[in-house]
Symmetry: C2
């Protein structure tokens, strides 16, 4: 057993205790209700980074939630990496869907359950512990490390672009390293070479000025809940394609070579079905399920609310109906352009007797990089050495706004080494992190730092 493995093993209980402390902070950044917790969490992250041995840690205020930044430059001869993570988490959702308390993590079968365990506290924490392990044993890093942990990933990183541009020189690095994705499955660590983008919006339909009696007025009064349902029903075609004109204009056609590679990945439709826990899967005609998830754009409604829901019918025509939805984008779709297409289309299909407002929420570009890049190949080997398993290259259906942002600013490859598993339940109740992945992930990061150092 090498010294790193021993150190991780000997300190594993403390590592988890510290991580639990971090997860207990309710850093839900999606609305203004957890402002104090966000600051508390940023401070805690800064403290943990300092404890790991990066002495200069700074918390930057933004217009939104604070950004934690630290660095340790060992030598100008070594390569420099910028590690990215985010301490904000999704709201827990319906708390009674949780089998364990969302913010009071519990370990069961070597799995750590709690909001943010996989997305992304547990994942960026593996880097902090990799840094601690190296510094404790070697007293210096094999590579120059910069680390940025933000608090707005789950809301599309609205203030990050400004920060990146303002601090471009400070952040400059040869490679960007991010652990915020998943492995293909527990037997296949995965380097992710592509992310989808996102463009999200709220659609609000207003009919009568107030809720009114559906008996007295039903038959002549436009019903916002029905009209919004009709609008949503017209966003997708029966073949699974999105019906918004010009939506596909800039979509780059999937190359046959990539389709071949994807088709040979060891993942079955049955496995995917197990992960989403549905009666069946459905999607765009003409594509495999993996292609639909990773390489094709899609559209989902995240929330819909109108009128009254109780145990009985409150017989009203509701004044308003609101839906929040987003489209996942692929190269070269542009979020702003897509939101304009949505706006024009929805307004064109909306009946003139109601008011329809589209509020644009957030947008993020998609990202793709060639996986034959030497840095990605090194990452693959680091994974294989640490996990003792064959690693694969995958794409991801989710979006990490930081990735296309930083890639466009520095034109540097991003190394996406996710420690999650597809059934971790990111954004869902009972989110979890495999502690096996966490420990082996720390080791993988140590190997990555070491092997990447000379690739400058």
């Amino acid at each position: 057993m090498n010294k790193y493995v021993s150190y991780i093993k000997n300190n594993s209980e403390r590592f988890i205790a510290e991580l639990i402390g971090l997860i207990q902070i309710k850093s839900v950044g999606i609305d203004g209700t957890h402002k104090v917790d966000m600051h508390k969490c940023a401070k805690r992250v800064a403290y943990e980074i300092k404890q790991a041995g990066l002495k200069e840690v700074k918390i930057y205020s933004t217009k939104g939630h604070p950004i934690v930044y630290a660095e340790r430059i060992e030598s100008s001869r070594l390569a420099t990496i910028l590690i990215y993570g985010h301490y904000d988490v999704q709201p827990p959702g319906t708390l009674n869907s949780w089998k364990t308390p969302a913010f009071n993590p519990i370990i069961k079968n070597n799995l750590l359950f709690g909001r943010g365990t996989a997305d992304d506290k547990g994942q960026f924490y593996a880097h902090i512990k990799a840094i601690e392990t190296i510094l404790k044993l070697d007293h210096m890093l094999p590579i120059n490390i910069k680390i940025l942990i933000e608090g707005e990933e789950e809301i599309g990183s609205p203030n990050l672009r400004f920060f990146l541009k303002k601090h471009k020189e400070m952040l400059r690095a040869d490679y960007i390293v991010i652990s915020d994705t998943s492995m293909l499955d527990k037997n296949h660590p995965a380097i992710c070479y592509g992310l989808r983008g996102i463009a999200s919006a709220e659609i609000e339909v207003t009919g009568p000025k107030t809720d009114i009696h559906s008996g007295s007025w039903g038959g002549i009064t436009p019903n916002p809940a029905i009209i919004l349902a009709e609008i949503i029903a017209q966003l997708k075609k029966k073949n699974g394609k999105i019906a918004i004109p010009h939506f596909y204009d800039k979509v780059i056609k999937l190359r046959k070579k990539e389709r071949d590679i994807l088709s040979h990945l060891p993942i079955s439709d049955e496995k995917l079905l197990q992960n989403v826990k549905c009666l069946g899967l459905s999607g765009e005609k003409g594509y495999t399920n993996l292609e639909r998830l990773w390489c094709r754009p899609t559209l989902d409604v995240h929330g819909f609310v109108s009128g009254y829901i109780g145990s009985e019918a409150k017989t009203i025509i509701p004044a308003k109906a609101i839906a929040i939805m987003s489209m996942r984008l692929v190269p070269d779709q542009q979020p702003d352009e897509i939101l304009n297409f949505l706006d024009s289309y929805v307004q064109s299909i909306a009946p003139p007797i109601v008011t329809v407002k589209i509020r644009k929420l957030h947008g993020s570009l998609s990202y793709i990089t060639p996986f034959n890049h030497a840095a990605l190949q090194i990452a693959k080997k680091a994974f294989e050495k640490a996990f003792g398993k064959k690693a694969v290259f995958i794409r991801e259906g989710g979006s990490i706004p930081f990735v296309p942002m930083i890639a466009s600013i520095f034109e540097k490859p991003c190394i996406l080494m996710g420690l999650g598993l597809p059934d971790d339940g990111a954004h869902a109740p009972n989110e979890k992190l495999s502690l096996h992945n966490f420990y082996h992930g720390i080791l993988a990061m140590i190997y990555l730092y070491q092997d990447l150092a000379s690739l400058k």
Copy 2:
């Protein structure tokens, strides 16, 4: 000025103070949260009836909310009327849509604002005050009076049928009198000769077992919010007709004669538009707006809820989506049959990869009676004498489950003498009652009791 007018005038302030006390009781019967208030309200109604001079008042328990019943039989030679009303009210809805407190009524411009002022506390209270006025001045009633005030009208009177059948002899009457509808406008008191029925249901779509990440899983996972929207969009056709097979099978064709009469009622589409406060009206092709409101069936969604609605997108595919909806029915549609048609249709259009459950809520038959019946003509004259204005015959889009129930048990005509106005906002925020209508309504009821007495 006759003695009744003087008495009403001299006691008007006290009448309103008592009515306000009744409205202050939050008798929202729609869910279990106001059980204590429901009992309190039933007791208060019983007390008021007793104070008015009907000495035998009884509160009957039911499986749901209690029923208040009283009677005063003067002579077997006189006709007997059964007055019906309901003390339960709609939930207030969004309280910040109210300009005055929903349960703390305030008078402005001779209008009394508060939940239940028009629907139905203020209206049945006019009868109680008519009884008081007669008994104070004449010491006996001109007609035998039975009065039943229930607490479950807003949830479809689920326990009333059992009560009516059990107490059939006690309740037997020559005519049923109900004030729970509206006048055509403030210049036209109206006798209502038809009500729509109702059949309501909840539709629940379940996709993934829990909310899941829309990035990681969007593209292959059925989205319950979208699927429910698609189902709802398929319930109505573009021409405003309901798309459920067999829905119209039992609808009796509107006679040309009735269409002619309705087309001559002094109400314009502009007036209707003012009442619903929309940008425009829409409805079933081939019918006028009044026909769409009163004589044709319709379908409305009352509530829709799925996933997350906040200031930002929580990027999930929600596990569930729920809508509550109802159909307003006309003769001879049967609620149970209609709910079965809905169920079959929705299941037939639902994709097999989600679970769709239809929960049948409540149903009530429609009602229609010939308006040339002598009792209805007497009611019209009572209105004209009291208000000094020409009264008209109308139908109503709403449903009063008691009416078809009692009509089918006794085969007696129901006299629907509404004191509301179309813009009273029943079921909406800022519900109100015109005190002018309330005072003149008391007088109209006195004339009705007197003139109906000999029609046996």
